[in-house]
């Protein structure tokens, strides 16, 4: 065992010395390789961070939302439906939910207007930090709105939601039910949709099926589905970028293969000498393995650590626009620094293994130079 270890260390010494002798070539390889890993790692860390955030936040979302459909389009739901749903076995509470959009033509922004379970008093509103930033208002200020009846509605800002909540609340405008109905001329007796709680969480799907049976014009949306949508969205985005990254990777692999396959006369001579003085094919393969591994491991570590800094400390300036999307009301949030072993494994598989495989056959070709070649030329 110690013999094996010593042999590996001895050969690693030679491998590192050999890399150092061809500094220019190997440094360029290392830089390109690290950049490739960096790109892939940034995409992965960023989309996983968003995904995680969405999953955790939405775990607090309503278990079940019931919407009414009219000719396939979302329609307002009569509050009377709530009574019917409440009688279904397993259903806990049913509450009407009022929400909609208010388009601010001056700023070109779209607010999400919603009545929370504990609404502010009539005439007052709670706004998200994005709106506050856009309209430059502070708590206590008055904000004018134009109602659907063309009447001015002045609402006082009671509170601005904390900055840490931007990811969910940047465009949020919370207000009392009376103000909501006045703003949109919202008819009484209807709601945007209904939220339903279910006594046994295992039964949500069953309850949803019963609701559709009882009210064929409704569409229940499970919390699980909301979370799945976000997981899909970020996987899809991250995946698209990863596919682009795949092209980069392929280019890099070809580059690496070319570097590995194109042995210079000097390298060929060196391997010939080593074989001549008693190195075995297996020893040369080990040498080549260590040359490749020292490059790929270094590039992997450099790339991931740089990506960590880029994504979590600098908030991914290079990727944010594509991964987050954009809007007038743009949430300004920080991702929680978090990576896991799974991401690292995937990254390793995506970057190190193709490189190793690409250099395998060229290494073997180099290793099988005839030992007596050193005497023949």
């Amino acid at each position: 065992m110690t013999g094996w270890c010593e042999r590996q260390r001895n050969i690693l010494d030679v491998a590192l010395a050999s890399l150092r002798r061809r500094r220019g070539k190997n440094l360029s390889l290392l830089v390109v390789y690290s950049l490739t890993v960096f790109l892939g790692a940034s995409v992965m860390f960023y989309s996983a961070g968003l995904k995680r955030e969405a999953r955790l936040l939405l775990s607090a979302a309503p278990e079940l939302v019931v919407q009414r459909l009219s000719a396939g389009r979302h329609d307002l739901i009569p509050v009377a439906y709530a009574e019917g749903i409440r009688t279904i076995r397993g259903v806990g509470t049913v509450a009407p939910r009022l929400w909609g959009y208010y388009y601010d033509a001056v700023y070109g922004a779209n607010y999400t207007v919603q009545v929370p379970t504990l609404p502010p008093p009539a005439g007052e509103i709670v706004i998200g930090p994005g709106i506050a930033r856009l309209r430059k208002v502070a708590a206590g200020d008055l904000l004018p709105f134009l109602s659907y009846r063309r009447e001015d509605l002045l609402l006082q800002v009671r509170e601005i939601l904390p900055a840490e909540s931007e990811l969910v609340s940047t465009d949020l405008l919370l207000l009392a039910e009376a103000d909501f109905r006045a703003l949109f001329s919202f008819p009484s007796g209807v709601a945007t949709d209904l939220t339903v709680t279910v006594r046994n969480p295992q039964e949500v799907a069953t309850v949803a099926r019963k609701i559709v049976e009882r009210f064929p014009d409704t569409r229940p949306i499970l919390r699980e589905e909301m979370q799945a949508t976000y997981a899909a969205v970020f996987d899809w985005r991250g995946g698209l970028l990863l596919v682009l990254f795949g092209v980069v990777l392929l280019a890099f692999i070809i580059f690496a293969w070319d570097k590995a396959a194109g042995l210079s006369a000097e390298e060929r001579r060196e391997i010939g000498i080593l074989k001549g003085i008693g190195w075995e094919t297996g020893d040369i393969l080990t040498l080549k393995f260590w040359e490749g591994t020292s490059i790929s491991l270094t590039a992997f570590l450099l790339g991931t650590l740089l990506a960590y800094v880029h994504v979590f400390l600098l908030q991914a300036p290079l990727l944010a626009a594509t991964l987050k999307g954009w809007a007038v009301l743009y949430p300004d949030f920080r991702l929680v620094s978090r990576i896991d072993a799974f991401q690292l494994t995937v990254l390793f598989v995506l970057t190190v293994i193709p490189y190793t495989v690409a250099t395998l056959v060229p290494s073997w070709r180099a290793a099988t130079i005839d030992p007596d070649s050193v005497m023949r030329d």
Binding site: R9, L58, N110, V168, V233, V336, D340
Partner: protein, 97 residues
């Protein structure tokens, strides 16, 4: 005798790996501040009955992707460039069963 190359490399690589491991562990351990933040945000989500993130607020059919109508364009085809750039990034989602 100076430190040999193999050992320098070994130490550097090992410290890099340890750093990564530390970052992984740091992410997996409990973080009270993070837990507090999460509790506050989850309370807000529950109280306001929110169902979506405020990532794409530019149009009503992208603000609440989980609540959108079935016919909303981005749900039909990922290449429908109805609303660039969001539209091209939403994947088609089938209607809930």
């Amino acid at each position: 005798m100076p430190l040999r190359r193999a050992d320098i490399f070994g130490v550097l690589t090992a410290s890099g790996l340890l750093l990564l491991l530390a970052l992984v562990l740091r992410g997996s351990g409990p973080d009270p501040a993070e837990a507090d933040r999460l509790t506050r945000l989850q309370r807000l989500v529950t109280e306001a009955q929110l169902t979506d993130l405020a990532l794409l607020t530019e149009a009503r059919y992208t603000r609440h992707p989980t609540q959108a109508d079935h016919f909303a364009p981005f749900q039909d085809h990922p290449l429908a460039l109805d609303h660039f750039p969001s539209g091209m990034f939403w994947s088609p989602r089938r209607p809930a069963p």
